[in-house]
């Protein structure tokens, strides 16, 4: 780890923006998130258009159990905070705390996914399957898209942690952490909208 320490000492204050490649990566990722906004925006639009179309199967207000969802929300919001802590640690060139915070982020992400799988399983048992109504199809598509984003984020951050153990924090790896952090916040923001539009509005009717 002495090598890592040496490299970290030579790092500039914002290592993710030290190279043109790093700056390109960050700008490109912001643009990608712009496209993701449209993607989720379209999924939300579809959901809003179809959410009351339930000719058969349970409706939203019959189905949702807000306490599980509130717990999910709490977990994911906390993971956003821990990922901020990781980025702050990176800016101070503290590799070990950074990795620590990231491990917590990943674990929280896994907990969220576990809850989501549990929740979907419950719904299916209550007769709310992908094919039961237009509401169900659009619900599973929207929430499932978000879930698969979380799963990808968990995988991604895990590989970053593993490669940093080997390579240390450098001007090459720093931008990767930075954009992974952006990604994680984005997922979190999308979930806030899902919580509001899908669950709260669904419960109200």
């Amino acid at each position: 780890m002495s090598n890592t320490h040496h490299a970290a000492a030579a790092l500039p204050a914002e290592p993710e923006r030290a190279t043109l490649e790093g700056r390109n990566k960050i700008l490109g990722f912001w643009l990608f998130l712009g496209a993701e906004c449209v993607l989720f925006g379209t999924l939300f639009a579809t959901f809003v258009a179809l959410r009351n179309q339930v000719p058969e199967g349970p409706t939203a207000s019959e189905l949702f159990n807000l306490s599980t969802v509130a717990l999910s929300t709490f977990i994911l919001l906390t993971s956003s905070l821990t990922s901020v802590m990781a980025t702050m640690a990176m800016h101070r060139h503290k590799v070990k705390p950074m990795l620590g915070w990231l491990v917590i982020t990943v674990l929280l992400g896994l907990a969220f996914l576990g809850l989501e799988i549990y929740e979907f399983n419950e719904y299916v048992m209550e007769g709310h399957t992908f094919t039961s109504s237009a509401f169900a199809t659009s619900f599973y598509t929207l929430v499932g898209f978000h879930g698969s984003h979380v799963a990808f984020g968990v995988l991604w951050i895990t590989t970053l942690i593993l490669q940093t153990l080997k390579k240390g924090l450098t001007v090459v790896t720093a931008p990767k952490f930075y954009v992974a952090g952006l990604y994680w916040h984005f997922i979190d923001v999308v979930w806030v909208f899902i919580f509001t539009v899908v669950y709260l509005m669904g419960k109200v009717g």
């Binding site: 390109n24 700008l27 993607l39 579809t46 169900a136 598509t141 995988l155 590989t159 970053l160 390579k167």
Partner: protein, 613 residues
């Protein structure tokens, strides 16, 4: 330290499979676009053959619908779009004085994903029939209840190609924002680069909507979802909204770069600075912005009600204003100039009247009550072909003749070029002008036949003759390419006495583009240096080693992964689908774990090359 890395240099086919050089990727894009243009053109000719006389029985029913669908989809997604990406690759980094695009590896991936999607979709011809619900794929015709297996190829082919398009757009945005040479401010960028920029913005924000539409259709088709299944609460009009929220910006994705090419060509061949450069930039941005708020004009007869129809009608008419600004700016660039008529400028200059006709009918279509008559008739077919062929294709061919020497170091033959132009242009007008009247006389679009005695015979006959003439024009073009490719490379750096940076370096451009990054001192940077008596650009940096990215076969591997996964989904063999996706993910992982150190071209090598040139 980086000098120590020895990187394998490939030759021949492997060079093309592994290249990350934007100029070579540009050529790959253009070659693939040409191939798909010929396929789509053949489909068009077959359509016209069936419609040459009333009540013919050559391509009937499903077969005709497959031809129509594949013609539209191929031309838009697999001919026009890659041609535009091809020119963006060929010209944009050179025009802004960059050594490459921001992500060379991703650039290669964009191309191979597009090709994988295009090939996947066209394999449908051999695997049970092509898509048959029109390129617009309106639900519920496009769902499993009413259309064949072919629509699965449409859904998956376009999704795979769409990923490539999206990352390509991001690549060019970052390149243009971050990689401009010193002094190349936004308001000094050549107009083609500007249009490439706005086109990328449109793709970035429009394509995800289409991706979602395709995902929904795929879920309905493969997993029995209910997005468009009315009996389970689905909504068939939802598809139309999602499709056109993407589909209308897509039209501008195609036409804006054509505007850019015309702006370059008109300015170069009249030896004048582009008239009203800032208003051209402003008009481009405005058109891009407005293109997102007019999609309902494709749906006036869907039953949206008078309020929505009126709002979108006014929005649509508003687009005529910035477009008009562009037309007049081109005319006044020509005014007072010294106009050369060669093949490149003929294509470019003839764009103006052809596009004006398309624009005129566009304004006519914007009036909803009149549109109730035009909608889904041959009038619309005539309109969008005047825009897409008279606009996009004429612009693209102008670009082909204009940039050919920069790409290959050879000038295309002028005589054959002019034969190509005249046959194609006359054929184009013969094909599509009568279609305006066919539509008004009551011929709906996408019909495989018409009955005799309804006044539709003459127009259809003339139209078919015109299509044949366009086909003959394309033969001249192919002969021209073959003849030119065996000639020696004699093109000079600047055969057209042009104005922008790409003409300041050798033809074809060296792999590192600029030996020294140039210093930009104004609009039309190279012209400015030439009028100041300089032969070359003033360098902005001392001569030094140049870092180049390594070639890689991984983009091809990753695209094959998506291709296989696509087949897995279509045939519902999910382990194959997952295997393909996992393969693609592993490539991403490999790319993340092993850093690409690239290689350096040393000063001595640069000086050697300088001597050779």
């Amino acid at each position: 330290m980086a000098h120590a890395h020895k990187v394998k240099q490939y030759r021949g086919v492997m060079d093309w499979l592994t290249t990350v050089d934007h100029k070579k990727i540009g050529i790959l894009y253009l070659a693939a676009a040409a191939f798909f243009f010929l396929v789509g053109g053949l489909e068009a000719v077959l359509i016209r053959v069936q419609l040459m006389y009333p009540e013919q029985n050559i391509f009937v029913g499903e077969a005709f619908n497959q031809l129509v669908t594949m013609h539209g989809t191929t031309m838009i997604f697999f001919a026009a779009m890659p041609a535009i990406f091809g020119f963006m690759n060929v010209a944009v980094p050179l025009q802004i004085g960059a050594r490459d695009v921001a992500y060379p590896y991703v650039n290669a991936l964009s191309f191979w994903l597009f090709l994988a999607g295009g090939v996947l979709m066209n394999t449908s011809w051999f695997l049970g029939g092509a898509p048959d619900a029109g390129w617009t794929a309106y639900a519920p015709l496009s769902t499993t209840a009413y259309s064949g297996f072919g629509m699965d190829f449409y859904v998956l082919g376009l999704q795979i190609a769409g990923i490539g398009t999206l990352i390509g757009a991001i690549n060019f945005l970052v390149t243009i924002i971050n990689m401009r040479a010193p002094g190349m401010t936004f308001m000094r960028m050549p107009l083609f680069t500007w249009t490439a920029f706005i086109t990328s913005v449109l793709l970035l924000f429009a394509f995800p909507a289409f991706t979602v539409a395709l995902v929904e259709l795929m879920f309905d088709r493969i997993f029995s979802g209910n997005f468009f299944e009315a009996s389970k609460g689905g909504n068939v009009v939802l598809w139309q909204h999602l499709f056109w929220i993407f589909g209308h910006p897509e039209v501008y994705v195609l036409i804006l770069p054509a505007f850019g090419i015309i702006s370059e060509v008109v300015s170069v061949f009249s030896r004048k600075r582009l008239f009203g450069y800032s208003s051209m930039v402003f008009a481009t941005i405005l058109i891009g912005f407005l293109s997102f708020m007019v999609w309902v004009h494709h749906m006036f007869t869907t039953g949206m009600g008078p309020v929505a129809n009126s709002i979108f009608a006014v929005g649509t008419m508003a687009i005529a204003v910035p477009t008009g600004i562009k037309i007049f700016n081109w005319l006044f660039t020509l005014w007072g100039g010294s106009i050369t008529f060669n093949t490149a400028s003929l294509w470019g200059i003839s764009f103006i009247p052809a596009f004006v006709v398309g624009g005129m009918t566009g304004v006519m279509l914007a009036a909803p009550p009149a549109d109730f008559q035009y909608q889904d008739s041959y009038f619309v077919v005539a309109h969008f072909h005047y825009v897409i062929v008279g606009g996009v294709v004429l612009g693209l061919f102008s670009g082909v003749y204009y940039w050919w020497p920069k790409m290959f170091g050879r000038l295309l033959n002028e005589t054959l070029g002019k034969l190509h132009f005249w046959t194609f242009f006359i054929g184009f007008n013969l094909t599509f002008f009568p279609q305006h009247f066919l539509g008004l006389m009551g011929m709906p679009r996408r019909v495989f036949t018409y009955l005799p005695g309804q006044g539709l015979e003459e127009g259809n006959f003339i139209s078919t003759i015109g299509a044949g003439l366009m086909g003959i024009g394309m033969l001249f073009f192919l002969i021209n390419i073959i003849i030119t490719s065996v000639k020696p490379r004699t093109a000079t750096n600047d055969p057209w006495d042009a104005r922008t940076l790409e003409w300041a370096i050798s033809s074809p451009a060296p792999e590192y583009n600029f030996k020294q990054t140039p210093l930009i001192r104004g609009l039309d940077a190279f012209w400015k240096e030439k009028t100041a008596g300089n032969k070359e650009m003033t360098p902005a940096e001392p001569l030094g080693p140049i870092h180049m990215p390594s070639s890689s076969i991984m983009p091809v591997v990753m695209s094959i992964g998506f291709f296989i996964s696509g087949f897995g989904f279509m045939y519902k063999v999910y382990w194959v689908a997952i295997l393909g996706l996992v393969g693609a993910l592993l490539v991403m992982l490999w790319r993340s774990l092993y850093d690409d150190h690239g290689r350096h071209i040393e000063v001595e090598e640069l000086q050697d090359e300088g001597v050779k040139a």
